[in-house]
């Protein structure tokens, strides 16, 4: 028996991170390229920082998509519209003379409840029917939310207070807008908080377990349905942050606010590998910087081509590496 235990313990611990060496090399090369570019050109640096802010928003909404994809196995087409609706909620609160950041926090709470209710009322009834049924429901939600928001607030442009002011910082000749830095930091902070929740809390662990193996999760006492609803709530919270950060970037609020963002987020999620939260963030940041630099340095790529270029990226990834940068196949021994 002693030899048996010895053979059990002798095998070396394999650390599986799911990150392949070519992908790491690619990312490091990209980072070095950006660093050299930023050091040698002020415009390049400006565009990169602005792209990171855009990309953080894409990454945040992509993260919401990934969260739901992992739990419910569908892409939530209504994610952008849910984000837009919660941004209108924040707008309404500021209209009632709440300060921007108080409205921000209250909106997050509202978004969580909203996400949970959407799951319970619309997704749960069809969840076990078929994937297509859930997809159709999310498309229906897209239309429903868009209609309700337009009905309540109208389709005309709304304006909100600027959360970060309009200051510009200058660092060795490069101008960084406070807005870009603020947006970037808020988005990254949200991602880190979410990661901490999933990695280090019992709730996060139960949510991961429910998404990975619902039947096994139920056997250890996890209320799986409840966890799925919480997942939708958290995704809606991420979306709300993305919406409230998109509004100041665009200076106006109107019902189609998040429609292009959702498409960028979709491209970002696919680029990162639809299963991978980390990939969604990296994919978002990459896409944001890439689109900005293309717009700056490639003459014919005007802003009208931003969406088509994002789609080209999407197509490119799906053809060349359908699992994206960080999507992985499981290592499993039986």
């Amino acid at each position: 028996m002693a030899t048996f235990v010895a053979t059990l313990t002798k095998r070396k611990t394999a650390v599986s991170t799911g990150v392949s060496i070519p992908v790491v090399a690619l990312l490091v090369a990209g980072a070095v390229f950006l660093l050299i570019g930023c050091l040698s050109s002020e415009i390049f640096a400006q565009q990169t920082v602005s792209g990171l802010a855009d990309g953080a928003i894409f990454g945040l909404l992509a993260l919401a998509l990934v969260l739901i994809y992992r739990a419910t196995e569908v892409v939530n087409f209504a994610q952008g519209e849910m984000a837009m609706a919660t941004t209108y909620f924040a707008y309404q609160l500021t209209q009632w003379h709440l300060t921007y950041w108080l409205a921000f926090v209250l909106t997050l709470a509202f978004a969580f409840v909203f996400g949970v209710l959407v799951q319970v009322a619309f997704i749960r009834p069809v969840q076990h029917k078929s994937v297509i049924a859930v997809v159709i429901v999310t498309v229906g939600l897209f239309i429903l939310i868009d209609g309700v928001v337009t009905w309540i607030w109208g389709a005309d442009l709304k304006f909100m207070a600027a959360p970060f002011g309009n200051n510009v910082y200058t660092l060795s000749g490069v101008a960084f807008s406070r807005l870009d830095i603020g947006v970037f930091l808020v988005c990254i902070a949200s991602m880190v908080l979410l990661w901490l929740l999933f990695q280090y809390t019992k709730l996060g662990l139960a949510m991961r377990a429910s998404a990975l193996r619902p039947s096994s999760a139920a056997l250890v006492g996890v209320r799986v349905d409840r966890m799925l609803a919480v997942g939708w709530g958290l995704a809606a919270v991420l979306g709300a942050v993305a919406g409230m950060m998109t509004e100041p970037k665009q200076f106006v609020l109107q019902p189609p606010l998040m429609q292009p963002i959702l498409l960028y987020a979709f491209a970002a999620a696919v680029l990162g590998g639809l299963e991978s939260p980390f990939g969604a963030v990296v994919g978002g940041l990459t896409l944001g910087v890439f689109l900005n630099l293309i717009g700056q340095y490639v003459g014919f790529a005007t802003s009208e081509l931003r969406l088509p270029i994002a789609f080209a990226v999407l197509l490119f990834v799906l053809v060349l590496k359908p699992t994206g940068l960080f999507g992985r196949r499981q290592v499993r021994r039986v």
Binding site: L8, S16, A209, R213, L219, V220, Q330, V334
Partner: protein, 235 residues
Amino acid sequence: MPALLELEQVRARYGAVQALHGVSLDVEEGEIAAVLGANGAGKTTTLRAISGNVRREGEIRFAGRRLARTGPDDAARLGIAHVPEGRGTFAELTVWENLRLGAYTRSGRLRDDYARVQTYFPWLEERRNQQAGTLSGGEQQMLALARAFMQRPKLLLLDEPSLGLAPLLIAEIFRIIRELNEHEGLTVLVVEQNAHIALQAARRAFVLEVGRVALSGPSEELQQHESVRRSYLGY
């Protein structure tokens, strides 16, 4: 004293297929009981009926309560740990995360329980941060046992712990099951195709045939029983 678990005329079906035609059995506190039978006799379904993984009719009483409409999560909360076919291990999560999930229904610190788990499975500590899916089959079965133990269950349901394992490992697994029973007072209902090892470990056994208990009694008696010997022990 009433038994910890009692099944009375329990029936269950998968769609049009009736899997259990009225199973009656009982498990007393502190014992190891075994359910034997051929493929398709309803062994797994019996466990699934107890933990609420399949819709069932008939009477199931556990620790004085009727399990009527309970789902698997409720069963876990009532103190039933079910290690299913395929072990129910979260392959994508680490060993330690699997153990934490085992203790999901409990509050408070896990350190003492983990220390006790380690006395039975000392190798776990070294593999703590390893993905469970990279463990060997035997290790995964042990992890499943350890996870169930972290739940501090009143009753452990084990579905074919010997499946796909080498004889040496099977013996090791059953040795640990018996230790958990003797030293920790864990009540176990184990389903097995390997009647030989199951009858050695269990105090009593129930032989299922086509969704019914065909035969039951103390293990020693069943070991001597003519038809059990011929059908399940092979001599």
